[in-house]
């Protein structure tokens, strides 16, 4: 269980205070207007931003004193998830040991993770020889081998076309179910996750305005910001 309680962050030009919960093994979609604080929320969980007050815990363990590497967190971005000079397998291996000196069982784990994202046979490819979707699968495989129970996805599939985007979300969904990973995903096309996410948090102005079941959370009547986001008065498409 991920618990965020009154986590306050302050900059000269922006202020945020977050509160939300995500049960272990659940998928939480984070939706909201640009600049509303979605990425800041993920960065806070990962340890790139330090709250001035509040509580951040995972399975009862306080995360705030921990460095990003010590937190039970794997993360994936829209771009630049891979290092261009390393092969797909090496990029995955970074999740086990940054020195890339792998023992035999580690190698097996890499192969297994690549197989889990359907990339067997492409181990030796460099990022520039992979398609956009394949690159994101490599990044997912790395998140798997690191065995971190909390996966943060920051607009991970925004650069992919809609069909591929849904396919990738299905892959994520399957993996989190089979491995009991808690997934937080920021996304600007909530219709892609309506049927897969367990809950949806609407984030704007540095606050979690609503956290509820996906369709219910996007009800325009709940907040003018939500109405503006989904389009005036129109219900979210599915």
């Amino acid at each position: 269980m991920l618990t965020i309680d009154a986590c306050r962050l302050a900059w000269p030009d922006f202020e945020a205070e977050y509160a939300l919960e995500a049960p272990a093994g659940s998928m939480l979609a984070i939706v909201g207007p640009s600049g509303g604080g979605k990425t800041t929320l993920l960065n806070t969980i990962a340890g790139f931003e330090t709250p001035v007050s509040g509580r951040l815990a995972f399975d009862g363990r306080d995360l705030l004193p921990l460095s990003p590497a010590e937190r039970p967190v794997a993360m994936m971005f829209q771009d630049n998830n891979l290092f261009a000079h390393l092969s797909a397998a090496q990029n995955v291996a970074l999740g086990i040991r940054p020195s890339l000196r792998l023992a035999e069982p580690d190698r097996a784990r890499v192969a297994e993770a690549l197989a889990a994202v359907d990339l067997s046979g492409l181990e030796a490819r460099r990022p520039e020889q992979l398609s956009g979707g394949q690159r994101q699968r490599v990044a997912l495989a790395r998140a798997l081998v690191s065995r971190k129970p909390l996966l943060l996805l920051d607009e991970p599939f925004g650069a992919l076309d809609p069909g591929l985007r849904r396919e990738m979300i299905a892959v994520v969904d399957a993996l989190r179910r089979s491995r009991r990973i808690t997934v937080l995903i920021t996304i600007h096309t909530p219709e892609d996750v309506l049927d897969r996410a367990d809950s949806l948090a609407f984030v704007a102005r540095g606050r979690v305005l609503v956290q509820d079941a996906p369709r219910a959370a996007l009800d325009p009547a709940r907040d003018p910001a939500i109405a503006a986001f989904v389009g005036h008065g129109a219900p979210a498409k599915s």
Partner: protein
């Protein structure tokens, strides 16, 4: 991507490339054509062989030392924040464009027989007197000029690393070793070939530094032979052939470097505050301390030595200086604008070729800017002047040629700053731009401009500073109308007024420092 076959308007960069090649060819042709009576054939005699071997040796050694120290300095500066850091960055930029004559006198003031080092050694009661003439002087001067340049270029590149990579490094728990191997090294490796080519050419064609600090006539470069053929023997054909030889050597070396290392694509994104995971490592802390101390020991005394000119400052501040400064500023602005425009056009053409999967053409565009350095400015100017002769007066020719030749000289530097930025922009928005049908100037203004703005300011300031301190061809075309600050410096030197020359040298360095500080602020690295 498929594209309808048909005529396409040539990219402006292609026109620039053609114009540059045309200028060089025309200049060479004019020189050879003007050789009238003496069609001397260039024999690779013992003398030429000797200076060739020496030039290659000193340039290779200078390049290796400059790149190693430059990379170490860039890493140390990337890892550390300390008071005065931005001043240190400005100092790097100022050092990189210091006029050769000022460098020579600074090296002597610090390391000479009666220099600061000698005074220190004497005060310590030690015996050996330093002697900078020979290899030490050449290497110190070249490393001073080029390690600082390399440090700036490397630092620029390091700061363009994608923010996501730094976050991944933090999450994956990269130590100092993994940080270097996966984040820094690939970037250094990507920049190194182009930079090495540039530094090698600068050292290979170095003239006043090698001749004056070399200590003996065996320590000369081809440029010296070209100079004496052009100005003392008036043997234009020999000059053109020597210049051709120099060009051929530089071309083959540049190509070799370029194809020896394949370029990985760059894909940086917005820069966010980066906390490097290797900052806290105590061994790295020590290493950086040593590197920064070493860099400071190399750069600061030589910069500080120019302050000796301060005493005579009141005596040089007059109408002459104001006029010369105005001329210098005008020429510097025009040539910097020209250099940046050419660099953007060429980099754009390279990018366009890359997008069309024409790697070789792209590589040719990448090589071209560094290659123009191999054309001796004396020969280029003389050749172009011969072309203009009879059409415009010598002074008018000077007004055209001076900014043009200075711009060509600054082009490779501008290119090193601008090309990666354009590549970044293409990586980030290229597909979108193609989708929207944005091309040419509109694409430049809408898509590239936000990414280009800062490096452009840096490149412009660098090119302006370089042109500001350039003496080279003013020797031929200076005079009442085209009296620049470096020209004034030599005029005072020739009239026994060394102190006033030093004061003007100080002003040149101060201007370079100011421009470099501006560029640093713009680059925010």
């Amino acid at each position: 991507m498929r594209r309808a076959a048909g005529l396409r308007a040539p990219h402006p960069g292609a026109l620039v490339a053609l114009a540059l090649a045309g200028l060089a060819a025309a200049a060479f042709g004019a020189l050879i054509g003007a050789a009238q009576d003496r069609p001397s054939v260039l024999a690779l005699d013992a003398y030429l062989r000797r200076i060739l071997v020496f030039s290659l040796g000193q340039a290779a050694l200078s390049t290796v030392l400059s790149l190693v120290l430059g990379a170490a300095l860039a890493l140390a500066l990337a890892r550390r924040r300390f008071p005065g850091r931005s001043l240190a960055l400005a100092a790097l930029g100022a050092a990189a464009v210091m006029p050769a004559i000022v460098v020579v006198f600074s090296v002597v003031a610090v390391y000479g027989r009666s220099g600061w080092l000698a005074a220190g050694i004497e005060a310590a009661g030690l015996a050996p007197r330093p002697n900078p003439f020979g290899w030490p002087g050449i290497l110190v001067a070249h490393v001073f000029l080029n390690a600082t340049l390399a440090a700036r270029v490397f630092l620029d590149a390091l700061s363009r690393a994608p923010a996501e990579h730094w976050r991944l490094a933090a999450i994956l728990g990269f130590g100092p070793r993994a940080t270097f191997a996966h984040l820094d090294w690939p970037i250094l490796k990507r920049e190194a070939p182009g930079l090495a080519g540039l530094v090698f050419l600068l050292c290979f064609t170095s003239f006043a530094i090698v001749l004056t600090l070399g200590g003996g006539p065996g320590k000369a470069t081809l440029e010296v032979a070209i100079f004496s053929a052009l100005r003392v023997e008036l043997d234009f054909a020999r000059a053109a052939m020597l210049a051709g030889l120099q060009l051929a050597i530089c071309l083959s070396l540049t190509l070799l470097l370029h194809w020896a290392v394949t370029q990985a694509p760059v894909a940086p994104t917005e820069r966010l505050p980066i906390a490097r995971p290797d900052c806290a490592d105590p061994r790295l802390r020590l290493l950086d301390l040593v590197v920064l101390a070493l860099g400071g020991a190399l750069v600061l005394p030589l910069l500080a030595a120019t302050l000796e000119g301060a005493a005579a400052l009141p005596r040089v501040l007059d109408g002459d200086l104001a006029r010369a400064a105005t001329t210098s500023v005008t020429i510097a602005l025009v040539s910097a604008a020209l250099a940046c425009a050419m660099a953007i056009a060429l980099a754009g053409a390279a990018q366009a070729a890359r997008e069309r999967r024409r790697g070789r053409l792209a590589a040719a565009y990448d090589v071209l800017p560094a290659l123009v350095l191999a054309i001796p400015p004396f020969a280029l100017t003389a050749g172009l002047f011969l072309l203009l002769r009879g059409r415009v007066g010598a002074t008018e020719a000077g007004f055209v040629l001076l900014p043009l030749v200075n711009a060509i000289g600054a082009l490779p530097f501008a290119y090193r700053f601008l090309a990666p930025a354009l590549a970044t922009s293409a990586e980030r928005h290229g597909r979108l731009a193609a989708l929207l049908g944005l091309t040419g100037l509109r694409r430049l203004a809408i898509v590239d401009w936000p990414v280009l703005r800062r490096p452009l300011a840096g490149a412009f300031a660098f090119a302006a500073a370089l042109s500001f301190g350039d003496f080279g061809i003013v020797a031929l075309f200076g005079g009442a109308e085209l009296r620049t600050l470096p020209y004034l410096l030599y005029e005072r030197l020739g009239a026994y007024r060394l102190d006033e020359a030093a004061a003007i040298g100080l002003l040149l360095v101060a201007a370079a420092f100011a421009l470099s500080a501006f560029a640093t602020r713009m680059a925010r690295c």
